[in-house]
Amino acid sequence: MTDLSPAPRRAYIEVEDLSVQFPTEDGLVRAVDGVTFSIDKGQTIAIVGESGSGKSVTAQAIMGLVNARTADVTGHVWVDGQDIVGMTDDELRKMRGSTMAMIFQDPMSSLHPFYRIGAQLTEAVNVHNKVSKKEARDRAIEMLQKVGIPSPEKRIEDYPHQFSGGMRQRVMIAMALINSPSLLIADEPTTALDVTVQAQIMELILELQQEYNTAVVLITHDLGIVADAADQVAVMYGARVVESGVIDDIFYKPEMPYTLGLLASVPRLNQVRADRLDPIPGNPPSPIRLPSGCVFNPRCVYKDRVEGDLCATERPALLPTDLGHMVRCHMSKEDREAVATIALGTLGRETA
C-alpha cells in the first residue's frame, strides 16, 4: 500500500466511498455502492436498512471478512489511520479480534457446536496474546463474569447448546470484547433473541462500550434500538447510504423519502391513530439490477416533485444538508422539508 500522505483524520473510523461487488454467473452483484460515514471512539453509529440493502456486507467489509478472491472491494476503510482495504490477509487477520471485533445476529449458530465455550474463548485470547493457559482461562472467566454469566468457572466447561439464546449472545459478546477491541461491529445482535432479552443485551453492549471506550457500528433494522443506542445513523438503501447524520437529525429532521417511509413503518407507543402501519409500496431492488438514477426512484412517491426524469436517469450525490447531516436526493431542500412535514405530520407527530 502506498498511501504517501495520510491526511489527518478527524474520526477514528472513516469509511469512504466503500464499494463491494461480486461477479456471479447471474451478473455483477453490487452489494455495497459508495458507502461513506465516520465515527469516533466511544461513539455508536447505527446502519439501518431493509434486508438486502447492503448493511451486513458493509459490516463484513469493515472487518475484512469479504473474501478478496471472490469480491471486488474498492474505496477506503480507515481504522485508526490504517486503510483496511488493500491490507494483506495477515495484517487484516491480526487486527481482527484484537483491534476490531464483531458480534453476529444468530448466537445459536455463531458458536462452534463441537467445542466447549471455554476453549472458544481462550482460543480468541491465545491467537493475539502470548499468555499461559491459566491466564487465558482466567481472562475467559473474567469476561464471562462481566457479561453476566452466573458461575462462569463452571459454565466454561459447557457446550454452546447448553446455553439459552440470550446467554449465548452474552458469550459472543464476551468473546468479541475479550481482547478489548477499539471497534465493535454488532450485526443485528438482538434480532434473533426474545424481546425481553433484547434490551438486556443492548444494555450490556452499551455498558461495555463505556468501559472500553469502544467505537460501535450497530447494524440493525430496528429503529427502536437505534433511538436508544446510537449517536449517529446511516440509512442504507439499495447498496447505498441515502441519508446519514446524528440521531436527532434522522429521527426528527429526515429529508430522504426512504427514511420517511422507514420511520413511518415503525409502530410507536405514542402513536395515537396507529390503526395501520404505513409500509413503503413496492419491493427493494435486486443488487444485480440496481435501478438507474436514484435507487429509490421506482418506489418513491415524491419523484414527481423533481423536474423531468432526473430521478430515473441521474444518480443523486450524497450531499450535506446541515452540519453532519447528509442526504442523497434530487429534491430541493425545501421540497424535502415539506415532504417530511407532511409525512411526519400524518403520523401525528410534531416536527422539531
Binding site: T24, E25, V29, G52, V57, L65, V66, N67, D106, P287
Partner: protein, 329 residues
C-alpha cells in the same frame, strides 16, 4: 445458514422470487439451464439417445444391420472368432461382430440402449412415485405410520440388494408370469423395474419426508388446514408443489444410477433373454474374449459410460439451477 462471506450466500438469490415477479420458478430454472452450455449439449445428446432408442429398428435397417441375424461368413470356422481386426470391423459391420455368431455389434448396442433406457426410465418414474408418496405420507402423518414406514426403510436399506435381486430373480419372474405378465422379456424387464424401485424409494422418501416436516409448519399449510381442506388435498395440492425441486433433482440423478445398476445386473446374468442383448450382457460376454478382442469390452463400455456421464451432467445442471448454493458457483 444466514449471511456469510461466501458470495453465493449473499442475499442475491433469495430475493429473486420476490424480485422477478411474474416469472415462475420453472421459468427461472429453465433460463439458468439454458445458460449452462454443458447442460444444453448434454440435454441435446440425451434427446438424441432417446430418439435413437425409440427408432432403433429404423436406424438399424437404414444402416443395413440388425441384432439378430447370424453372419457365419464373418467368423472363423476354427474357434468362432471374428475375422478381421477389432472384432471384425468392416463396412458391413461398422463396430464388428459377436464372437461365435457373427451378430452385428452396432445393432446390438442400439437395441441394448433401448432396453437400458426403458428399464432405467420406468424404474426412475416408479421410484419417484413411491418415494414421494410414501415420503409425504410418512412426514405428514407422523406417529405410527411414520414409524412403520421408517422401519421398513431401515430394513430395505440394510438388505444386500444385489444378492437379493439375484437370488429372487428366477422365482419372482415366474410369479409375474403367473400373474399374467407375458412370459419372457416383459416379465424380466418388469421384475428389474420393480426391484430397482423397491430398493430405491427409501432414499427419496427420506428426503421428501424431511421436506414435508419443514413445509407442513408453514403458514399456507396451516391456512389450508384452518380452512378445513381435506387431508389428500393438503398433501397433494398444498405440500407436493413445494417438493418438486428436490424430487426432480433426485430423479435426474437416479436415472444414471439405474442405468449402471441394470448393466451390472445383466453383467451378472439377470437380464433380457436371448436373442436380445443389453450393455451389461455384452460386457459379460466380453470377459471371455477381451484379451484377444478388446473392442468387445471397449465399445459397449464406452457407450455405457457416455450415457451415464451425460445423464449425470444434466442431473448436476438441474440441481445447480434449482439450488445454486448446493452446486458450483
Amino acid at each position: 445458514m444466514s449471511t456469510s462471506v461466501a458470495p453465493s450466500a449473499l442475499p442475491v438469490v433469495p430475493d429473486e422470487d420476490e424480485e422477478i415477479t411474474g416469472r415462475s420458478l420453472r421459468q427461472i430454472v429453465w433460463s439458468r439451464l439454458r445458460r449452462d452450455k454443458t447442460a444444453m449439449v448434454c440435454l441435446v445428446i440425451l434427446i438424441l439417445l432417446y430418439l435413437i432408442a425409440i427408432f432403433a429398428p429404423f436406424i438399424t435397417s437404414m444402416l443395413g444391420v440388425d441384432p439378430y441375424s447370424f453372419d457365419g461368413e464373418s467368423i472363423s470356422d476354427s474357434g468362432g472368432g471374428p475375422i478381421g481386426a477389432w472384432g471384425g470391423i468392416s463396412s458391413e459391420h461398422p463396430l464388428g461382430v459377436e464372437w461365435g455368431t457373427g451378430r452385428d455389434i452396432l445393432a446390438q448396442l442400439l437395441y441394448g440402449l433401448r432396453i437400458s433406457l426403458l428399464i432405467a426410465t420406468t424404474a426412475t418414474i416408479l421410484t419417484t412415485f413411491l418415494g414421494t408418496t410414501l415420503g409425504i405420507i410418512s412426514g405428514y402423518a407422523g406417529g405410527k405410520t411414520d414409524a412403520i414406514i421408517g422401519r421398513t426403510m431401515d430394513l430395505i436399506l440394510a438388505f444386500p440388494f444385489l444378492l437379493i435381486i439375484l437370488a429372487l430373480s428366477g422365482v419372482l419372474t415366474q410369479r409375474l408370469t403367473q400373474l399374467g405378465v407375458p412370459d419372457g422379456n416383459p416379465s424380466r424387464i418388469l421384475y428389474l423395474i420393480i426391484v430397482l424401485s423397491i430398493f430405491g424409494w427409501p432414499y427419496l422418501a427420506r428426503i421428501v419426508r424431511g421436506q414435508v416436516l419443514s413445509v407442513r409448519e408453514r403458514e399456507f399449510v396451516e391456512a389450508a388446514v384452518a380452512m378445513g381442506a381435506g387431508r389428500p388435498r393438503i398433501l397433494f395440492k398444498e405440500i407436493l408443489p413445494n417438493l418438486w425441486a428436490p424430487i426432480l433433482v433426485y430423479a435426474t440423478l437416479t436415472l444414471p444410477t439405474y442405468i449402471g445398476t441394470e448393466a451390472a445386473l445383466s453383467f451378472l446374468g439377470i437380464g433380457v433373454l436371448p436373442p436380445d442383448t443389453s450393455f451389461g450382457g455384452m460386457l459379460g460376454n466380453s470377459v471371455s474374449y477381451f484379451s484377444v478382442v478388446p473392442s468387445y469390452l471397449f465399445i459397449p463400455g464406452t457407450v455405457l459410460v457416455i450415457l451415464v456421464v451425460t445423464f449425470n451432467l444434466v442431473g448436476d445442471a438441474v440441481r445447480d439451477a434449482l439450488d445454486p448454493r448446493a452446486g458450483r458457483v
